[in-house]
Amino acid sequence: MNKETIKAKAKLVMVDDIDTDQIFHQSLLTIHDPNEIKPHIFGNLEGYKSFGKENNVGKILLVGKNFGKGSTRQQAVTGFLAHGIKAIIGVSFGPIYYSNSVNSGLLLVEVPGISEFNVKEDDDLEIDITQSLIINQNNGETIKCAKIPQPVLDIMKAGGLLKLGEIM
């Protein structure tokens, strides 16, 4: 991720308080292979149960507040990496989910005012990291996101915390 902007199509899952059981149910905890985790993502989230079988490669996921609250399970992050999700934009994230994601190389972007941002499924979004802006290229709207901290950028660039450790 050696660039200042990320461009991708939007995938909307604008639900608040999605917990890790809705992302990847606890009955599946013995599954660790990313490809086996993939079809189960959102398997317990009403209205989005087909997500696991859809093709959302290279998209940016938009969610509500407190995304990923609940347990420490890593599969709830791994599953989105397996789907090729580029980043998740949300109002806020569960603290453990945030650190699990960052350490695995999945970028999370906090946008407190996301509900006022006019965006439709498959709109072309751009995350401008330098200016902390999200741009909807289809309607020209922009919205401020929280500044992405330097350690997060360092970790994303390396492809995860353990990878960063190889070069430090």
Binding site: P95, Y98, N100, N103, S104, P149, Q150, P151, L162
Partner: protein, 422 residues
């Protein structure tokens, strides 16, 4: 000039980030003074290190300690093998191990002077923030972060907002620091300190020993807080000087920016108990007196020190533990074990019908001493977790060593009948 809270100051001294980067909710890289791991998660950390950094050295073997304290004497084959993995890796890399029977890692860090005020220490222990009692920034960390830290000596931290908590008033025996900690947990849980740091102030702080401060700070995790600090003072300085260690009394700036300030009235505080199923379900002891208890454990990083065991011994002296009660003591460290041997507390407790187990963690994490088997074994511990299923399938209560001892005599939850003078 910018002003800083205690946690901001500690972070500021251990980061390359500029002062303009030190503000709540920002994330910065920090340099670690100490990286530790224990028999829970330690083996996974070693696996990750060896897989990702094959053939690499650690960042500095003198700033790493392995502190197996969870599964005393490898009480099943898996844990015995895990502990062996730690020893082999430590030997290969020249890393210190405080092996089985030494005690709880977080306690050894201050008891043996491995960590001092102003330092940052991380370990696979969600109660590493008890180190805040000495002005040390202690934090629990996951496998990935610890493996990265072993290699680089670095970690990242989201700078928390700080709540200033002023404890107003004083209390008297048999109310102890555990009652204070439980009351503060109840209040802070209601107030909401999720993801926040706390700094404790008030005249009472000047009267609390290091062990009592540790007890106070040990329940911040249960309120979802990041850490509770007692800024280093003369009591802290004296504590370290006994080990010949000089420390710096780091404190928050007078005009530091707190997210809020909370005054808690603790005048004539009574005795409290955490009831099932959450540590924050704290009630006055009067509400639960008489509930039958048949398993009691004195131990944990919250209340396993020699001072805590002494509190129990004072109540038990000359009494017999109720025949329906199994009573176990797990000293926090070897030093505590020695103290209670020298001052006669161990004999008092043994004569009253109590039992002793090797120094280390006790009931809070799974798999240690104090496990009960059935639906009928209702437990009271001096620890910090009463989550259903952690110790056994039945209810678990959390209380002070004084209440634990009084309960042991009666066989049901009891407040000490006789007030024993300190």
């Amino acid at each position: 000039m910018t002003s800083f809270t205690l946690i901001e100051k500690i972070i500021r001294n251990r980061t390359d980030s500029s002062d303009s980067e030190i503000y709540p909710n920002n994330i910065v890289w920090i340099d670690l003074d100490l990286v530790t791991a224990r028999d829970y998660a330690g083996p996974q950390v070693i696996d990750l290190f060896q897989k990702n950094y094959t053939g690499s050295k650690t960042f500095n073997n003198e700033k790493i300690i392995f502190t197996p304290d969870c599964y005393p004497y490898g009480n099943d084959p898996k844990h015995a093998k895990d502990q062996e993995k730690i020893r082999v890796f430590a030997k290969e890399h020249g890393i210190k191990v405080t092996d089985l029977g030494s005690g709880i890692g977080s306690h050894l860090l201050f008891r043996r002077g491995f960590s001092k005020p102003g330092d940052i220490a991380i370990g696979a222990d969600s109660h590493y923030n008890i180190l805040g009692a000495l002005g040390i920034l202690g934090q629990g960390a996951g496998d990935v972060m610890l493996a990265f830290a072993l290699k680089t000596g670095k970690s990242w931290i989201k700078i928390p907002e700080t709540v200033k908590v002023i404890l107003k008033g004083d209390y008297e025996w048999p109310t102890t620091a555990k009652d204070l900690a439980l009351y503060v947990l109840k209040e802070l849980h209601e107030y909401g300190i999720t993801g926040k740091a706390v700094e404790f102030y008030g005249e009472i702080i000047d009267k609390l020993s290091i062990e009592e401060r540790v007890t106070l700070c040990s329940l911040i995790t249960e309120a979802s807080g990041v850490i509770g600090f007692v800024p280093a003072d003369k009591i802290t300085t004296d504590y370290y000087s006994e080990n010949g260690i000089e420390i710096e009394m780091l404190s928050a700036d007078e005009d530091a920016r707190y997210v809020s300030e909370l005054v808690l009235d603790i005048q004539n505080l009574g005795q409290y108990i955490a009831c099932p199923p959450h540590p924050h379900n704290v009630k006055k002891i009067e509400e639960v007196i008489g509930i039958p208890i048949n398993s009691i454990v004195i131990g944990s990083c919250t209340n396993g020190s020699s001072a805590d065991i002494h509190d129990a011994a004072k109540i038990l002296k000359g009494h017999k533990i109720n025949p329906n009660v199994r009573f176990g003591v797990v000293p926090a460290t070897r030093e505590d074990f020695v103290s209670i041997n020298l001052n006669g507390d161990m004999a008092i407790i043994l004569e009253s019908g109590g039992n002793f187990f090797g120094a280390g963690c006790s009931t809070c994490a799974k798999g240690q001493y104090g496990l009960t088997g059935g639906e009928t074994a209702v437990t009271l511990t001096t620890g910090n977790r009463n989550t259903q299923g952690k110790i056994g399938p039945a209810d678990v209560y959390l209380a002070s060593p004084v209440v634990a001892a009084a309960t042991a005599i009666e066989g049901k939850i009891a407040a000490p009948k006789e007030v024993v003078k300190r």
